[in-house]
C-alpha cells in the first residue's frame, strides 16, 4: 500500500485474466495490474497518468501515440501493455530534465513546428529516435523518418526545420 488507505473494490471475476507488470517508464519502474488486452497507450495515459502520449486513430496510421520502446520508436496503440513488462519506455514527459528542455523541444518552439500540439509528442519522439542514429540528417532523411507520424496543422515544413535546429544544437553541444 502506497497510501494510508486503499478502498477495497469487489474482487474481479475470476475468469478475467489479470497480470502484474513492471515497466521502466522514463527511468522509473512503474507497476500495475493489467488485463492483457489493455493497450500500452492506455497504460501510460490512464494507469500512469502520462497524458502527453495521445491516441489519434484506430488503425496504426497517425503516430500520435509514438513512444520509444527500448530506444526505438513504436506506436503505443499497437502494443499490449503486458508486452512492455521489463522494458524501457520513454514518453514526451521524459524529454526534458527538471531544469532544461531537450533541444528537440526547443527546436519545435523556435521554428513554430506545432499548432494544435496533438501530434507533437509523437512527432518529437520519432525525431529523437532519428537524431540518436543520425545527428546530421538531410531534409529528406527527416521527412522519411517522420513519415509514420501525421500532422494536420503545420504542413511539416517547420517540423523539418525544428529537427534541423535541434540537430545543430546537439552537434554543437557535442563539440
Amino acid at each position: 500500500m502506497s497510501s494510508l488507505y486503499e478502498e477495497i473494490k469487489s474482487a474481479p471475476a475470476s475468469d478475467i485474466p489479470v497480470r502484474q507488470i513492471t515497466v521502466n517508464v522514463n527511468g522509473e519502474p512503474r507497476t500495475a495490474n493489467v488485463e492483457p488486452r489493455l493497450l500500452l497507450v492506455h497504460l501510460l495515459r490512464q494507469a500512469f497518468k502520462l497524458t502527453g502520449t495521445h491516441s489519434g486513430c484506430d488503425t496504426t496510421n497517425c503516430g500520435a501515440c509514438t513512444v520509444l520502446f527500448d530506444g526505438r520508436p513504436i506506436k503505443s496503440c499497437t502494443m499490449l501493455a503486458v508486452q512492455a513488462e521489463g522494458h524501457n519506455v520513454e514518453t514526451v514527459e521524459g524529454l526534458a530534465s527538471a531544469s532544461e528542455l531537450n533541444p528537440i523541444q526547443e527546436g519545435f518552439k523556435q521554428e513554430h513546428a506545432l499548432q494544435c500540439g496533438f501530434c507533437t509528442p509523437g512527432m518529437m519522439m520519432a525525431a529523437k529516435a532519428l537524431l540518436e542514429e543520425n545527428l546530421n540528417p538531410t531534409e529528406d532523411e527527416i521527412r522519411w523518418a517522420l513519415s509514420g507520424n501525421l500532422c494536420r496543422c503545420t504542413g511539416y515544413q517547420n517540423i523539418v526545420k525544428a529537427v534541423l535546429w535541434a540537430a545543430e544544437k546537439m552537434r554543437a553541444e557535442l563539440n
Binding site: C57, G117, F118, R152
Partner: protein, 793 residues
C-alpha cells in the same frame, strides 16, 4: 525612452508561442486528459447499414454485463423528448435512431460503463434487427421520381429535396450571354471530404444534482453557442450550464456543430449522477461528424473575344447527407457560394442552387472555409482556366485584364458583396516572377524530352472572411459579432478573455500582441484565457477565419476603452487636464513636455490606489465588436507539376504562395497558417476524399482509406507577402487561416490540367489520383468522380 514595439511582443513580432510551453512538455490539456472522480465511459453503437428500418433492439445482454451502468436507446431518448435535436440549418437530426437509420455510422445505442473497454464489449452484445431499404448515395438518385424518401419523419417533406435557392440578376445575365462572342463551360464535382483534426470529438459531462449545475468539458470551436443550444434542448437554466473547451487538437470546422454524442453524454450524466466521458474513435469521427464539400458545380462564362468577361452563370447541386446540418449563416442556403468571382470585374452573374438529402453522413461544415467559399473559389479558378484556354489566351494575362483594379475598391461584386481592398496584379506579378513563368515553355520542352509532362497552374482569389456584420449574418438567429474583456491588474499586468476559441491557431500569443500594440504592456505580461463560458464574454466562436477579423478587432477596441480611462488617470497623476495629454506606446505625457509623463502601469496602479474623486475604481472593460463588413484577403497560388505519363503519378516541382492578408500581427503564425492550409489543399487535390459504394458503405471511414499526406509526400512551399491594410478593421488585419485551403486546390488541379491541355481533357475531378490522371491522358476524356464506386479488392 520610446518603447520598441517588436521587443515588447507587439504588432509584427514573430513572438514564439506561449501555448507551446505546455504542448512540448506533453502538458497540454485535451478533453481526454481530464479525469473526474467516479467518471464513467460511454461508447456508441453505430449503424452498419446506410438505410434501414429498425425492427427491434434488444439490449438485455448488454445490461447484464458487469460494469455496465446504463444502456440508452432512441426510444429512451424519445421518452425525454431528446431523440431528435435541431441542426444549425433549421433542420432536425437524430440523436439516437428511433424509426430508421439513414447513414452508415449513425448513432443507434449508447452504453455507459465503468471502463471504455467494457462499454465496447457491451455494444457488441446489443442485437438490432434491421429491414434494409435502398440507399441513395448521390443527388441524381435522390432526385429520381421513384426514389425512396429518406426523411419520411418530416411532415410536409416532398421527395428528397432540401432546398432551391437563387441569387443574382437572371435577366441581365441572360442578356450578357446573348451578347457574348465566346461562351465557355465547365462542369465538375468537388468531392466530399472531412476536416479530420488529429483529435476526434469528445466530451465529459458532469451534472451535479445538488447544485443543479451542468459542466461539460468538450471539443467545441464555439462553446457559447453550445451553452445556448443545451439550454434550449435540455431545458436547463442557462446560468447553470458551463461549457469548458480545453485545448483542442485541431478543429478546421469539424468541431462547430453539436453532435449526438455530446447530448447523450449529458443525459447519461443526469441519469447516472456521475461524470460521463465520451471520446469518439477515429472511425466514428470520419463516418458520422461534419463532412465538407460534396457539391456538383456547373457553369458558364460569357466573354468578348478580347478576353473581357461579360457575365457568369452558376448552378450547384449539393449533397447534404441525411440531415441538413450545414454550419452557415441563416440567410444563405448554400453558404457564401456567391462570393465566387469576387476578384474579377464582372458586370452580372446569376446562380441557382439545389440541395438534396442522401443516405450519407450529415454535415456540410465550413471545413477550413467561410461557408462554401472553398467550392466557390475552386469553381471560379477552374472556370477561369477553361475560359482562358477556350479564348487561346495566356492564363495569367486573362486574369490580369479581368481583375478588379486597386483603385476600384471598395468594389461591389456581381452577386452583391463589397470587397474592401487589394493589390491583385502586384500579387500575381510576384508569383509569376517567383515561379519562373517566362521560362516555363523552355522548361516544359526540356521535360518532354525526358518523357515527362509539365504543367503550371494558377489560382488567384479574394474571399470573404470574418462573418458578420450582424445585419446580414446570424446563426439560428444569433448575430455574428464577437467580444473581448480586458482587466488590467494594479501591477500593470493584464488578463484578457475573448469569445473566440483557439484550436492551435495561437490566440494566447497573438491576442496579447494586439493589447501590447494598443497599450504598450509587454505581451509577456498579458494572460489570455478562452473557452470557459462561465468566465469569457459571449462570442460566436472560432471558424471561418473570423477570430482576427472579429474577436481581434474586439480586443483592439476594448484596449482602446481601457486606454481612454487610463488617460483620465494620467491627467489626474500629472495634474493637467485630459485635453493636454498625449499618448505614445505605453505612456501618457504632457503636451509640449515629453519628459513629464506616466506609464500605463503607473495608471493601472492609480486605478486601484489613487483615483480621482468620483471616479469608479479599477481598470477594465468589455467590448462587443460588430464588423462593418467582411475582410477580403487576396491570394495568388502557383503550382508547377510534372506528370509521369506511364503511371499518371504527378509531383509538385515548385509551389509559390503570395498572400495579402492585410497587416500581420505575428508573421510567424501567419506563415504557419498558410503552410498548413496549403497542405490540406494538396491533400484534397491528391488523395483526401470520402466516397461511397452502391450499398452506401463509406470509403474513407478510417485513415487506411482516408489519406492524409505525410511529411514525405508534402511539397515544400515558398511564401511571399503583400500587405494591403484592411480599411475597416481597427488594426488593418484580415483573416488568413483558410485562404490556402480555399485557393490552393485549384492551383494543383489547374497545373495538372495545364499539363494535359494537348490531350483534349478539360476536367478531372479531385482527388487527382494516378489512375484518374492516367485514364484522362490515355482516353482524352474527362474523368468524373461521382459515387457510387466499387469498393474492396
Amino acid at each position: 525612452m520610446k518603447l520598441d514595439e517588436v521587443k515588447i511582443g507587439g504588432m509584427g513580432a514573430s513572438r514564439r508561442r506561449v501555448e507551446d510551453n505546455r504542448f512540448i512538455r506533453g502538458k497540454g490539456n485535451y478533453v481526454d486528459d481530464i479525469v473526474l472522480p467516479g467518471m464513467l465511459h460511454m461508447e456508441i453503437l453505430r449503424s452498419p447499414l446506410a438505410h434501414a428500418r429498425i425492427k427491434s433492439i434488444d439490449t438485455s445482454a448488454a445490461w447484464d454485463m458487469p460494469g455496465v451502468r446504463l444502456v440508452l436507446t432512441g426510444e429512451m431518448m424519445a421518452a425525454r423528448n431528446l431523440a431528435w435535436m435541431p441542426t444549425l440549418s433549421y433542420d432536425t437530426a437524430a440523436v439516437l435512431a428511433t424509426d430508421k437509420v439513414r447513414f452508415q455510422g449513425q448513432e443507434v445505442c449508447a452504453v455507459i460503463a465503468d471502463d471504455p473497454y467494457i462499454a465496447k464489449d457491451a455494444c457488441g452484445k446489443i442485437v438490432v434487427e434491421y429491414e434494409v431499404l435502398p440507399p441513395i448515395v448521390n443527388p441524381v438518385q435522390a432526385a429520381a421520381p421513384d426514389a425512396v424518401q429518406i426523411r419520411d419523419d418530416k411532415a410536409g417533406q416532398v421527395g428528397n429535396k432540401v432546398f432551391d435557392w437563387e441569387i443574382g440578376d437572371k435577366a441581365r445575365t441572360d442578356k450578357a450571354f446573348a451578347d457574348a462572342d465566346v461562351v465557355s463551360k465547365i462542369e465538375l464535382h468537388y468531392p466530399r471530404t472531412h476536416p479530420s483534426p488529429m483529435e476526434t470529438c469528445g466530451s465529459l459531462a458532469d451534472y451535479d444534482r445538488a447544485t443543479g449545475k451542468l459542466t461539460v468539458y468538450m471539443t467545441s470551436q464555439a462553446p457559447h453557442i453550445v451553452r445556448a443550444a443545451v439550454a434550449m434542448v435540455a431545458e436547463l437554466p442557462e446560468q447553470n450550464i458551463r461549457i469548458v473547451t480545453p485545448d483542442i487538437g485541431g478543429g478546421f470546422g469539424n468541431k462547430v456543430p453539436i453532435y449526438p454524442g455530446y447530448v447523450i453524454a449529458i443525459l447519461a450524466s443526469i441519469l447516472t449522477e456521475k461524470p460521463v466521458k465520451w471520446i469518439e474513435d477515429k472511425t466514428g469521427n470520419l463516418t458520422s461528424t461534419g463532412f465538407g464539400r460534396d457539391v456538383y458545380l456547373k457553369g458558364e462564362m460569357a466573354m468578348r473575344k478580347d478576353g473581357k468577361i461579360l457575365g457568369v452563370r452558376m448552378n450547384t447541386i449539393s449533397d447534404h447527407g441525411a440531415f441538413f446540418a450545414d454550419a452557415q449563416p441563416s440567410k444563405f442556403k448554400i453558404g457564401l457560394m456567391h462570393s465566387a468571382f469576387a476578384a474579377y470585374d464582372i458586370p452580372t452573374a446569376h446562380m441557382f442552387a439545389t440541395g438534396y438529402y442522401t443516405n450519407k453522413a450529415p454535415g456540410g461544415v465550413a471545413y477550413r472555409c467561410s461557408f462554401r467559399v472553398t467550392e466557390a473559389m475552386f469553381f471560379q479558378e477552374r472556370m477561369v482556366q477553361a475560359a482562358a484556354d477556350d479564348l487561346g489566351m495566356d492564363q495569367a494575362e486573362f486574369r490580369r485584364i479581368n481583375f478588379v483594379k486597386d483603385e476600384q475598391h471598395p468594389h461591389r461584386t456581381a452577386f452583391g458583396f463589397l470587397t474592401d481592398s487589394g493589390q491583385y496584379e502586384k500579387c500575381l506579378d510576384i508569383g509569376l516572377e517567383a515561379i519562373g513563368y517566362k521560362n516555363f515553355a523552355a522548361e516544359k520542352a526540356e521535360a518532354a524530352k525526358r518523357g515527362r509532362l509539365l504543367g503550371i497552374g494558377i489560382s488567384t482569389m479574394t474571399e470573404p472572411l470574418g462573418a458578420g456584420n450582424s445585419r446580414e449574418y446570424d446563426i439560428l438567429g444569433i448575430k455574428m459579432f464577437d467580444s473581448a474583456e480586458l482587466r488590467i491588474h494594479m501591477s500593470g499586468k493584464a488578463l484578457l478573455r475573448t469569445g473566440s476559441r483557439g484550436q492551435g491557431t495561437g490566440h494566447e500569443t497573438t491576442w496579447a500582441q494586439i493589447v501590447a500594440h494598443e497599450l504598450g504592456i509587454p505581451a509577456d505580461d498579458i494572460l489570455v484565457e478562452e473557452g470557459d463560458t462561465d468566465t469569457a464574454p459571449f462570442g460566436m466562436g472560432t471558424y471561418a477565419s473570423r477570430s482576427t477579423p472579429v474577436a481581434g478587432a474586439a480586443i483592439a477596441m476594448v484596449a482602446r476603452k481601457v486606454r481612454a480611462k487610463a488617460r483620465k488617470l494620467a491627467a489626474h497623476l500629472l495634474e493637467v487636464s485630459e485635453e493636454d495629454i498625449e499618448w505614445e506606446l505605453g505612456r501618457f505625457y504632457v503636451r509640449g513636455n515629453q519628459e513629464r509623463g506616466v506609464t500605463i502601469q503607473e495608471c493601472a496602479m492609480a486605478a486601484y490606489s489613487n483615483m480621482p474623486d468620483g471616479m469608479e475604481p479599477g481598470l477594465e472593460n468589455v467590448a462587443y465588436y460588430d464588423p462593418p463588413n467582411l475582410t477580403w484577403p487576396f491570394a495568388c497560388y502557383i503550382a508547377k507539376v510534372e506528370i509521369d505519363p506511364e503511371t499518371g503519378v504527378w509531383d509538385v516541382l515548385q509551389f509559390v504562395a503570395v498572400d495579402d492578408c492585410g497587416v500581420r500581427i505575428n508573421p510567424m503564425i501567419v506563415e504557419g497558417q498558410i503552410m498548413g492550409g496549403l497542405t490540406e489543399a494538396y491533400a484534397m487535390a491528391n488523395m483526401q476524399y470520402q466516397t461511397y459504394d452502391e450499398e452506401g458503405n463509406i470509403i474513407g471511414g478510417n485513415y487506411m482509406d482516408f489519406l492524409l499526406p505525410t511529411a514525405w509526400e508534402t511539397p515544400g512551399f515558398e511564401l511571399y507577402e503583400v500587405v494591403t491594410p484592411c480599411p475597416h478593421h481597427p488594426i488593418g488585419a484580415k483573416g488568413v487561416g483558410e485562404c490556402a485551403t480555399v485557393g490552393g486546390p485549384a492551383a494543383f488541379v489547374n497545373a495538372v490540367m495545364d499539363a494535359l491541355k494537348d490531350k483534349g481533357v478539360r476536367n478531372i475531378d479531385m482527388p487527382l489520383m494516378p489512375n484518374r490522371v492516367y485514364e484522362a491522358l490515355t482516353t482524352g476524356k474527362d474523368v468524373y468522380g461521382m459515387p457510387p464506386v466499387r469498393s474492396g479488392n
